[in-house]
């Protein structure tokens, strides 16, 4: 069915959009290594990469180990100020030759193209994820959308090869309406996929908050008019550039709420380490706030408070565990405590995905489980709500437990077992809660590390079809 090329807002949307104001943001973004090589960065930044570090990266340029071709290098001034005094944040944002030592990984992690009915939409579960932009204010080296950000060409379902495109409002609105109409006519389930009604859209990319207010507002009103009840905003801007959450942004969301009072905003934030939001003293220690808790970086605190003050907004943090960035349970404990105190829920921690170069980033699955478990010792129940998730091609899977004891009489369990639980299937929910139990492999960084030691596989995580779509060299 042909769709309108341009978004035509409803009258209600037009009235809302007419009030929206764009602001200018000076993020002080530095993109690429060339600026450091040519010494065109500010004097303060010139030592961010040492001469030796730069030389190694220059020598890799235009080879298959080129780190910038794998993932463009980018940082904001705000994030640089944090990185200066944080080893963890430096590891997060600075290019390293380790990234391309081993290029094993999946060109399209999570096989997203097979869940993409229209350009820029990944329809999994009852949720639609859309790419609204292909960049962020700064770039995490471990990004699991490196193929989108670096504009790599991906093999499509129809056999063609092209880089991933962004979602467009008219096509997406049309898709949502068609899908929901079929679901309704079929008694609540889609006749072919068995999926639920699309109630929730996650605006992702890239970082949705790099869009200007007017663009965000167009998406919000279009989604709301299409019947979406919850809009998720995927963003790391609280870490990279908290001043983006300014008066004009909050005016926009308040006007949106006035026009669409039943639509909830779910701000999915991404903090990997407490250094990204806490102040430190000259010795590198966090500072006690005499009123309680620890002292936050002021503009980050302000942005979080403004978000949390609005009843139609919820804030959830989710972040991967990455080697060299956030492997200390004490850091993760402080982070969960401080986020919850400031009304940010601890949603998921993730095991690293099988992206190209993942061996440089991923903790072992068993270490990641131990890290979260240790971090939650000493937290209260409400603070310790996060689960450890690993994204299987079949759906989001929880790493539930790792045991040290063997299961008596069961061969292959001598060193203990790992228990996985499928949280959601990618299509419908029929296999939710199904479990797989495998013998331990302390070296495993992906499901493939357990293929030879499966004890029970009710969830089907280790079937032949899984192997076909798993990591390729």
């Amino acid at each position: 069915m042909p769709t309108q090329r341009k978004y035509q807002p409803t009258e209600k949307a037009q009235a809302f959009l007419a009030k929206v104001e764009n602001a200018k943001y000076d993020r002080g973004i530095i993109t690429g290594l060339k600026k450091y090589i040519d010494k065109k960065v500010s004097e303060d930044m010139q030592d961010f990469y040492s001469e030796e570090e730069l030389q190694v990266l220059i020598d890799m340029k235009n080879t298959d180990r080129d780190v910038e071709a794998r993932m463009p290098v980018k940082i904001t001034n705000h994030y640089y100020q944090i990185a200066k005094n944080s080893k963890a944040v430096q590891t997060l944002v600075k290019a390293s030759p380790k990234e391309t030592f081993d290029l094993e990984g999946a060109p399209d992690p999570g096989n997203q193209m097979s869940y993409s009915p229209i350009e820029g939409l990944i329809h999994k579960y009852e949720l639609g994820l859309i790419y609204v932009i292909n960049t962020c204010s700064a770039h995490c080296r471990f990004c699991y959308r490196e193929e989108l950000i670096a504009k790599k060409e991906i093999l499509r379902e129809d056999g063609t090869v092209a880089s991933k495109g962004l979602a467009k409002i008219p096509e997406l609105v049309n898709y949502i309406q068609e899908h929901n109409k079929l679901v309704e006519e079929n008694g609540g389930k889609h006749p072919e996929t068995n999926r639920e009604k699309l109630r929730e859209i996650l605006m992702s990319g890239g970082d949705a908050m790099v869009l200007g207010n007017k663009n965000l507002a167009e998406w919000f009103s279009a989604l709301a008019d299409a019947g979406i009840e919850s809009i998720r905003l995927g963003t790391k801007e609280l870490a990279f550039y908290p001043d983006r959450f300014d008066r004009t942004f909050f005016n926009m969301v308040d006007d949106f709420h006035a026009a669409y009072p039943e639509v909830q905003l779910r701000v999915m934030v991404h903090f990997n380490h407490p250094d990204e939001f806490l102040q430190k003293d000259d010795n590198g220690n966090y500072i006690e706030n005499p009123e309680g808790g620890l002292l936050w970086i002021e503009n980050t605190k302000h942005a979080v408070k403004e978000l949390a003050d609005r009843k139609f907004i919820i804030i959830e943090n989710q972040a991967p565990f990455i080697k060299g960035i956030n492997e200390d349970p004490n850091d993760i404990r402080i982070m969960q405590r401080e986020l919850k105190r400031n009304r940010i829920n601890n949603h998921y921690f993730f095991c690293g995905r099988d992206i190209i170069g993942h061996k440089a980033f991923n903790l072992t699955i068993e270490d990641a489980w131990k890290l979260l478990n240790d971090s939650q010792k000493g937290l209260s129940g409400v603070e310790a709500s996060a689960r450890l998730s690993i994204t299987h091609y079949l759906g989001k899977t929880e790493v539930v437990a790792v045991t040290n004891e063997p299961i008596p009489g069961i061969p292959g369990t001598e060193n203990g077992v790992v228990i996985f639980k499928l949280l959601r299937g990618t299509a419908d929910a029929k296999n939710k809660g199904q479990v797989a139990i495998v013998g331990r492999n302390p070296e495993a960084i992906w499901f493939s590390g357990y293929e030879d030691r499966v004890i029970i596989d009710e969830a089907g995580l280790f079937t032949e079809s899984m192997k076909e779509t798993s990591s390729v060299s």
């Binding site: 764009n22 943001y25 993020r27 993109t31 609204v132 292909n134 960049t135 504009k151 663009n215």
Partner: protein
């Protein structure tokens, strides 16, 4: 860091770039468009959108066009924002690829 509108836009001004820009950082003069370097977030969407290849990454800007860095910064502070596509200038095809167009830039 930013993307930069170069010389070939002068007297053409197709404006297809402004529609794809997610942060609306294009500004419009009589016969030329510019990008505000502070607002540009380096997404690169505008580069393939320009039918005459007039937009460059700052790092790939040809040496003989380096002055367009300052031109973009200066004029984007003065000119009004443009967010909607409009007709290209009438003689756009004729002017595409002509060298030395800077002399014709109207401020």
């Amino acid at each position: 860091m930013a993307f930069v509108v170069g010389e070939n836009c002068i007297n053409c001004k197709h404006t297809s770039c402004v529609e794809v820009c997610p942060v609306n950082c294009f500004y419009e003069g009589p016969n030329f468009l510019v990008i505000n370097p502070d607002e540009c977030i380096d997404c690169e969407e505008c580069v393939p959108a320009c039918p005459i290849g007039a937009i460059y990454s700052e790092d790939d800007l040809p040496e003989d066009q380096e002055h367009f860095l300052d031109i973009n910064a200066e004029l984007s502070d003065i000119w009004p924002q443009i967010t909607e596509v409009k007709e290209a200038l009438p003689d756009a095809d004729k002017w595409d690829g002509i060298e030395g167009k800077l002399n014709y830039l109207e401020r």
